[in-house]
Symmetry: C2
Subunit: 427 residues, 2 copies
């Protein structure tokens, strides 16, 4: 057994022991720990910011892109925001212990299905150090122990943050091993982590496709993930054009770099000319590049004006790409059925929307599109734990099992069946 | 790409298309299909029984054990029982389309969390051909397409059964590809099946540990499984002795070969002498071998009488073994805490029970034992979809995600969020 594997297994063993303790704690105790963790983050500023500065300096020396350096960098304000995030989690309702269902069989045996913590959760993420405190607080809130593996470029920051969180846990009488950071930057650590099904119950990778595929390939424990957000908006012939335009602009331009922004616009042929001329101009005015099928291209090219490169022919790949940028693939379709078929073929089962005044067409779209979240007359940008009213979000799942769509506190619990009898035996 | 991989992927492609059709069918249509499938099973007796006879003859020639040959063998009565099983599934309530939660956010956007089919499910199992119709009917009931991979020794039977089921599907206007059997006996087929995350949403392996481990190692899709049922009964010092004995005998002897039978008996020291003398004699009279720690062995050895081999010293491994036989590991413990610690250390998180009249001790046991189903004053033998009132069971999960414990029709569904708005965009 390699030293690294031994080291990761030891993290796992400690996390499992901590999880057994956490599972028996009260809501109050866990909330007190969260508040103490928030206080410790602020109190440890003098340890965390220098550790972070060392990460940033190493990142600069290694030639990290400015955007990545910005995500990595902490200052006193960002640290206070992290602490406030932890306090906000303390204020949320506790999903642990909810009675999900209760019934008594004819033999008198009482069945209670009750929400309990999952156990030990692994979170694998990239450069943002704030994920360390976010993920730790959500897991602790729900009585789970967590093993965190951030990007190697933020390792010093993450270790300093975890040390502060452990002090907060200890102040509330909870084991510091409830929140642990993998101390090695070795990529093999991820493999060892995801393979140890004795000590880990779930792994949640958050990051690029390469990271997630590596986790899926090596995991022997359940993985909850989303690879891509290739979201589409279908503007039906019965759409209100003003509503359709407002939703298109919101879903594409309000924050193009996130997974619930649209990447594809499908337009019914009967309204394509009028709609694309008006809304296409609005998109172009906001700097969006339109990658079009021939029909849309013919309609939109005259609008490109001084920026002919803003209207181009789409490749087949453009309809399968998460641009995360001011780029939109556009296609004219014959019918709602063609839109639904396009989404089934090209989409990533994340969030898809229809704009129409025709309720029958809308209901068909909502029923047939097999995505985590399907919208009628609203922007796809609402696929978000906060927008759903969950109060917090550990991620968004395009998987179908356990959690689908925004994954909040409830999705960080499982259940057990508690059976209370009076001597029942099976006949 | 190997021919086999191409062939399995083709099954997947067809299953995905069938799943899209199934997801839009009504409860009535699926129930009509189930009844037609049941009729076709009986009508195809002249094709199914000779195919099965060929499997049995090949099994005999290959030296299959008599118990395995018995599980493999079909006759007219067993075939009718399979058909009746399919009809019983048709009569169950449909979990698809249930509204799980509904709420409206302050912006007026209505959120509906609705139960939908999972999509395409792979079931991998061993020799019983009746699993073919059981699993197919449960998947079809819930609007899922299924790819079935039974034991190679039952391949002819399974193909004949699947042909009958496909005729039933066609009679109800549903695609025959909703139920497909992997036609290859090659073990590599399982690997290809579990790796194709594009076409498969879930795999459920049912069988021995080797089969399940092979699936887990190669799967890129979620797996729901249970490796072992190492179930324990703890008889507390405050137990009613007669109730404790009745539950012990039921949980060990009523059907020792199943996963919810107990393999370990833990007895509080204060009542060990009286309880083990009486209940030990009853167990020995039923032919149970008792594998004991020194304290229990000293108490039980005098009872072995003409069968001294029935009371032996336990090895460490005996407390971690699923005997599936008339064998019981016995241990005297100091306290409820010691019993809970033993179960955490040795159990398989399946089903564990306490017998006690002390409510505080019982509630502690129910809270702290981290198993799918925990019992107070009842036999572990109730961990079963039928006993729970689920009407049917596709398996029992010792995993924690998506399904835990008996997995019935509801657990063969996932959910989606359907959002109905009036033009909402995100601010």
């Amino acid at each position: 057994m390699s030293d690294l594997r031994t080291q990761i297994q030891e993290l796992g063993r400690r996390a499992r022991a901590a999880a057994r303790t956490l599972a028996q704690t009260s809501t109050d105790t866990r909330n007190r720990a969260l508040l103490a963790m928030a206080d410790a983050l602020v109190a440890d500023e003098a340890a965390i910011l220098p550790a972070n500065a060392a990460d940033v300096a190493a990142g600069q020396a290694a030639g990290l892109a400015p955007a990545m350096l910005d995500r990595l960098r902490l200052d006193a304000r960002r640290l206070r925001a992290m602490a406030d995030g932890v306090r906000a989690v303390a204020a949320l309702p506790d999903p642990v212990g909810r009675i999900l269902r209760e019934w008594t069989r004819p033999n008198g045996l009482r069945h209670t299905k009750v929400a309990v913590p999952i156990g030990v959760i692994g979170i694998i993420y990239e450069s943002r150090p704030n994920v360390t405190s976010d993920a730790a607080s959500l897991c602790l809130k729900t009585g789970n122990a967590v093993i965190l593996r951030g990007g190697s470029e933020s390792l010093r920051s993450n270790l300093a943050i975890a040390a502060a969180l452990a002090r907060g846990l200890a102040a509330a009488g909870l084991p510091g091993e409830a929140v642990q950071v993998v101390a090695s930057a070795d990529r093999e650590a991820v493999k060892h982590l995801c393979a140890m099904d004795e000590f880990l119950d779930l792994v949640i990778p958050r990051g690029g496709r390469g990271l997630i595929e590596a986790v899926v390939a090596s995991a022997r424990v359940p993985v909850i993930k989303h690879y891509d957000g290739i979201c589409a908006l279908y503007v039906d012939r019965a759409a209100d054009p003003a509503m359709a335009e407002e939703i298109t602009l919101n879903a594409k331009c309000q924050r193009p770099g996130v997974c619930n922004a649209i990447e594809t616009l499908l337009v019914h042929r009967e309204i394509a000319a009028a709609f694309l001329r008006h809304t296409g101009a609005a998109l172009l005015a906001r700097g969006v590049q339109l990658r079009c099928d021939p029909e849309a291209q013919a309609l939109l090219t005259p609008l490109a004006g001084a920026h002919p490169g803003r209207v181009v022919a789409a490749t087949a790949q453009d309809y399968r790409t998460e641009f995360l940028d001011l780029i939109l693939a556009v296609k004219v379709v014959d019918s709602p059925a063609a839109a639904i078929a396009h989404i089934a073929e090209h989409g990533s089962h994340h969030s898809d929307a229809i704009v129409t005044a025709d309720a029958a067409v809308a209901e068909r779209f909502l029923a047939e599109v097999d995505s985590a979240t399907v919208y009628w007359n609203a922007s796809t940008r609402f696929t978000d734990g906060g927008e759903f009213g969950f109060g917090a979000e550990i991620g968004i799942s395009t998987d179908k099992l356990h959690a689908r769509g925004p994954m909040g506190l409830e999705e960080l619990t499982t259940y057990k069946y508690v059976m209370r009898g009076t001597g029942q035996v099976r006949g």
